[in-house]
Symmetry: C2
Subunit: 306 residues, 2 copies
C-alpha cells in the first residue's frame, strides 16, 4: 500500500467559481480545520488581478496564514509572470502555471495560446531562479488534458508535445488536469503511461472533476498507474459553469475514504475531515455541499485513522 498525498484545492479551485466571496477569516478557519484533520498540502489561492477574481483578492493574507504551519506545503496558482512574482513575494512553496492543451481553452483561460503560455512558464521558472528561490517548485498544470468543452477531443499527441515543452521550459512537476470532467478510466491509464514516458518522475500528480461522476474511478486508476498526489476539494466545492447542477472537484472526503479503505495512507483523520465541512456550512450557507461519505457515515468496520 502506498502513501498518497491529498492536495486540498477547494480554497483555490473551489472558491474561484463561486459568486460568493468567502471572507478571509473563514478561509483561515478552513485552513486550520483541514490542517487539524491532517491535510498537509493545500492550494490556497490564485495570484490574479482582484478585478478579475475578487474571490482571490486576499491571496497574500491567505498564503501568510497557511505558512504559519511549518509543515504545511502551500501551493498557489499563477497564470503569468506577474502572478509568479506576487506568489514568490508571498512565500508560496509551489506555483502552478495553468498550461491548457486546447488553444480555445487556453485563450479563454489565460488569453495566451499554449505556445505563449509555455514561453511565460519559461520566464516564471527563470524568475524563480533569478530570485534565488530554488526551493520553490514550479508545476505545469496541464489543463483540459483529457478533453475540452470547447474543442472536444484533445489529442494525446498534443499533450505529449506540450509536456516536452513545459519540461524544457524548466518546470519541476507536471500535473494532469481533467478540468472539464471529460476523463474516463481507460483514458486516464493510457494518458498517464504516455506522459510518464516523457515526464518520468516529474509526473506525480493529477486533478479530476466529478462532473460526470467519474472522479473517484479516475483517481483510482491514477493511483494504479503510480500517481501519488491527487487534488480534491472539500464537499466537492467548485462546480463547473458548463454543467449546471453538477458537482465540481473530486470530493476530498470521499477520496480519502476510498484510499484509506483500500489501505493506502493519506495521513488524514477522515471523521475530522468530514466534521470540517461545518466551516463551509457556516461561511457558504447557500452552496450545495456534495459527498457520499458525509451523508452515509463511515462503515462499522472502517479502519482508517479516524
Amino acid at each position: 500500500m502506498t502513501t498518497i498525498t491529498i492536495n486540498e484545492v477547494g480554497l483555490r479551485d473551489g472558491l474561484q467559481s463561486l459568486s460568493t466571496v468567502m471572507p478571509t477569516a473563514a478561509k483561515q478557519r478552513w485552513i486550520d480545520s483541514a490542517y487539524a484533520a491532517g491535510v498537509r498540502h493545500m492550494e490556497v489561492a490564485s495570484f490574479v488581478p482582484a478585478r478579475l477574481l475578487p474571490q482571490m483578492a486576499d491571496a497574500r493574507q491567505v498564503v501568510a496564514h497557511a505558512l504559519s504551519y511549518p509543515d504545511l506545503v502551500v501551493t498557489v496558482l499563477a497564470p503569468n509572470l506577474r502572478g509568479a512574482q506576487d506568489a514568490l513575494d508571498a512565500g508560496a512553496q509551489r506555483i502552478v502555471a495553468p498550461v491548457s492543451v486546447s488553444t480555445a481553452h487556453s485563450l479563454a483561460n489565460v488569453r495566451r495560446t499554449p505556445q505563449q503560455m509555455v514561453e511565460e512558464l519559461g520566464r516564471m521558472c527563470q524568475l524563480r531562479s533569478d530570485t534565488g528561490r530554488h526551493g520553490v517548485q514550479m508545476i505545469a498544470g496541464m489543463s483540459v488534458a483529457f478533453g475540452c468543452t470547447r474543442q472536444g477531443d484533445v489529442p494525446l499527441a498534443d499533450l505529449c508535445a506540450l509536456t516536452r515543452q513545459v519540461i524544457e521550459a524548466g518546470c519541476d512537476l507536471v500535473s494532469l488536469g481533467d478540468t472539464t470532467g471529460y476523463a474516463n478510466p481507460g483514458q486516464v491509464a493510457q494518458v498517464i503511461q504516455a506522459v510518464r514516458g516523457i515526464a518520468g518522475e516529474r509526473l506525480r500528480a493529477a486533478h479530476f472533476h466529478d462532473t460526470r461522476g467519474l472522479a473517484l474511478a479516475n483517481s483510482l486508476v491514477a493511483v494504479q498507474q503510480g500517481i501519488v498526489e491527487l487534488d480534491a476539494s472539500l464537499a466537492g466545492l467548485g462546480g463547473c459553469p458548463f454543467a449546471p447542477g453538477a458537482s465540481g472537484n473530486t470530493v476530498t472526503e470521499d477520496l480519502v475514504f476510498m484510499l484509506q479503505a483500500m489501505g493506502h495512507d493519506t495521513g488524514i483523520d477522515l471523521q475530522a475531515l468530514i466534521d470540517s465541512r461545518q466551516v463551509l456550512r457556516d461561511a457558504l450557507p447557500d452552496e450545495a455541499l456534495y459527498g457520499a461519505i458525509a451523508r452515509a457515515g463511515l462503515p462499522l468496520n472502517y479502519r482508517g485513522i479516524a
Copy 2:
C-alpha cells in the same frame, strides 16, 4: 474491449425499498423504455408475499410483460421454494436466491441462517430440475459479501465457504452483492480473485451500491477482474434504509457512460437511457433521482452508441 451486460435491477431492488407502490402500467412503461434503449437484461420483480412487499404484488403481470420481448433476459428474485415455484410458473428465465454471508443479515432478510438458505437453494434447484425447466438459470446472490451493517466485517473465508456450498447446492451462477455499500476497490479485486478460485466461470456478475460513492470505482475494478455482468438501477433508485439521504444502487446511466466512454460495449443507447428517466419522474414524482451524466450531459466528444 469487452462486452459488458448491464442488468437493470431498478424494478426489483430499486422499487422494493420505496414506500410508494409503482403502478403496474408504469413498470411496463419502464420495461418498454429500457428495452427501447437497448437494455436486454432486467431483474423485474420479487416473488414474495404481497403483504410483506406490496410493491411486488404484481410480479406475475410484470414478468409477463417483460417476456413479451423475446430477446429480453428476465430475472426475478425468490427468497424461498414457494417464490421459486411462482417464478417458474410465471416463466422467469433466471431466478436469484439471496444468500447472505452474514447470519444477522440473513435472519433479518429471509428469516433463515446462511446454512438454511443454502438448503433452500438446493430445494429450489431441485424444483427447477423436477419441473423440467433446465433452461432456467439459478443464481446465488451472495448478499453482504463485502461487509455488513449488522456484523461489520464479513470474513472472506466465510464467503468462500458459502460459495462452495451454493455450488454444491446446484446453482448455475454466483453474483457478488455489496448490499450495504461497504465495498472498496481493493477489496473488490481481492474478493473476486478468491471467489473465482472456487466458482470459476460461474462467477460472472456483481452488484454494487453507491451508498458511499464507490459504485463506479468498484464496478470498474470488477470489470478489470473479469466480471462481465453488472447490476444497476436507473437514476440510482433504491436508497438504503440504513443510510438516509444516500443514493442506492449503481446508477445505470452513469455506469453505461463510464463503460462506453472506455470503449466497452453494453449495447445501450445512452441518450435514450437518460431520456427514459422521464418514466420515473412521472410515476415517482417525490423520489430523488440520482446520477451525474443526466445532470451534466454527454461530453462533446462522446462516441458511444448514442
